[in-house]
Structure formats: C-alpha cells, structure tokens
Symmetry: C2
Subunit: 190 residues, 2 copies
C-alpha cells in the first residue's frame, strides 16, 4: 500500500452516524479487528480487548449512557444521527491496565490503545464501512462495565458504532500542515 | 486503498530503531504530517502540533531524557538501536489541552492525539520510512518542554525517531483476534 493510497483513505475518513440495515458479517469484523491488533503498543503487551455488540438492549443501554454523557435527550434518532440501538454493531475497545492506574498508567495505556483504535477505523473505512469514534468512556466505567460483564481492573476506552454508511461524505476538513508544524522549536515557521 | 492493502501495511509496521544516513526530505515529511492531520479528533478541535527536529544537540538532549526514562545508559548506540543524535529526524507530537487538565482532560486529549500519531506512523511506513513510537513524555514535560520552547499549557505526547530503515524487518507478532475479542459480553467466545 503506497503513500498516495493511504493519503486518499485518510482524507476520506469521516465520522459516520447513520447506517443502512445491511448486516455486517462476522468475518469482515474479524479482518478489521486483525488490523487493529497490528498496531504498535508498549513492549508488545497488546492490552486491548474488543467486545462486538449486536444485542439491541445492550446497544440501547450504552446509547443512553452516551446520551447522558453528551447531554442529549435519550432515544433520539435523525437521518444523520441514528440511535445506537438501530446501528448494526457497536465495538467496545477495552484494555487491561498493564501500566498501572493513575496518570502515568493512563498515558501509557492510551498510547497502546488508540493506535489500534485508529487501525480499526481505517480498516473499516477501507472495507467501505462507516464508524464514529466516541471516547471518554473511562469516566463512565461504573455504568458501562456491568453491561459488558467487564472484570475489575479493565478499562473501557472507546465505543465505535459500525455499519454501512447511509450517506456519502466527502473529504474531512483540516488545518494546513504549516499551521500545526514547527521546525526545531515551537513557533519556528515550517 | 482497499482493505487487503491496509492489512499488508499494518502487518509489516514495526518499531525501527536504526537508520541509514540517507536524508529525509521536508516535502515527504509534510506529506506524512498531512496524513496525520486527517485523523479523527473530538469536535474537530485538531489539538495537535508537530515539531520536526533535525538539530543534533536537541536530538542528543532528548535522547538523554529518554535514556533516563528507560533506565538506559546515556549515549549508547548499537547496530539495532541507534543513538537519537544520529537519527535523521525526531518528530515531537505535542498538543494544546482543549479538554482541560486532569484525568478527564487527559483521556479526551489522548483520544484526539494518538489516532493522528498512528496515521503518521502508517504514512511513514507506506513511504518506506522507519519509525518507533515513544510515549510517556507527558511525565517528563518539565525536562523536554524547554528544549522545544514549548509554551505553558501545551503537552508532549510522543517523540518519534524517523529515517530510512537500516534493517529489513518482517511482519509483527500479535495474538489471534479470537484471543482478544468477545461477543456481546466480556468472556463470551468470539
């Protein structure tokens, strides 16, 4: 895979929040998760664990937590933002905490989980699937962990709705590189 | 870019710690950073800032901090692990802290930075460049920030040595998907 092809893939990765009813087969999910596990991680500890959720009641319960987190009314659905109960699959990205609790452990764990999350999102996009990354779940673990039977000592980092996009989106919009890059020291123009 | 091509790219992404003397051109770095900026991030805040470091003394000073962090003797160099002073480029991935300090802010910021880091690493690999992701820098900001003239209120998440690989490495080794995936609830076999 050459750089130009990856540039095109990354430029068209968008947050997709509405999906068709077309099912997402297990074997495709397994291929996508395999790409996720190829990500770099500290000392190859591979702290990740993925929970693939299709059960409607679990999806609804997680959606309600997300609605509360984002101060949205529960159960809402619109053409461009589907209620998660109606989304084909939710993938919860969890992990052990091999680097301990606290700020140091959090930083090390995040650095070993989010590269896998991005591999997952890119792989889904390469397959034509839509996803949207939702984070901040570690702040609501006491609510979401019981829904997933998650053991103590494991964290929930991200929940990713996944399905075939109901809408076609163009390239994402980002600041120019020169605006977010410095040479040698911060503030030296690139 | 199709899924099969991304699978191949991700499977061969390895930590490269020794590089040739061949220079890494600015325009290629800019293309790679553009891919980094395509990553998902909360509310499209794009908190990232990249510092491209070629200055030998800065690279050496950062290498010394890394050696102290990892309890290695300073200034070491071996065929498979080059001293950073001799690495063509170091890229420091920094950010503003738009989501505040503390654990909540840290989690949100990490979720908006590490996907860009992984895009950067994949783009470098697609271009034939080698990299190695080093994290935990937020725990040493008081040492590294002055070297980069980093303003207060900005964080250093990762430092990424980059160059043309001195050695050819095969596929990375990862646990099978079935070992790190559950269906519906944690522990239900995939």
């Amino acid at each position: 895979m050459d750089l130009e092809a990856l540039e095109q893939l990354a430029a068209t990765q968008r947050a997709v929040r509405a999906f068709t009813d077309q099912p997402v087969p297990d074997d495709l999910i397994a291929r996508i998760l395999r790409v996720a596990t190829r990500a770099p991680n500290a000392r190859n500890v591979q702290p990740w664990h993925f929970i693939v959720i299709r059960d409607r009641e679990t999806k609804r319960a997680i959606a309600d937590i997300q609605s509360d987190m984002t101060n949205q009314p529960r159960g809402q659905s619109s053409p461009d933002r589907q209620n998660w109960a109606d989304v084909p699959v939710l993938i919860a990205v969890c992990s052990t905490l091999p680097f301990g609790e606290g700020r140091a452990g959090d930083a090390a764990t995040a650095g070993s989980i989010y590269p896998a999350v991005q591999n997952l999102l890119l792989a889904a996009h390469a397959a034509g699937l839509g996803t949207v990354l939702t984070t901040r779940w570690r702040l609501n673990e006491e609510k979401v962990a019981p829904l997933l039977n998650l053991p103590a000592g494991m964290a929930v980092h991200a929940v990713i709705p996944m399905g075939w996009p109901a809408v076609k989106l163009g390239k994402n919009r980002r600041k120019p590189v020169a605006e977010v890059t410095s040479r040698e020291k911060f503030g030296n123009a690139w």
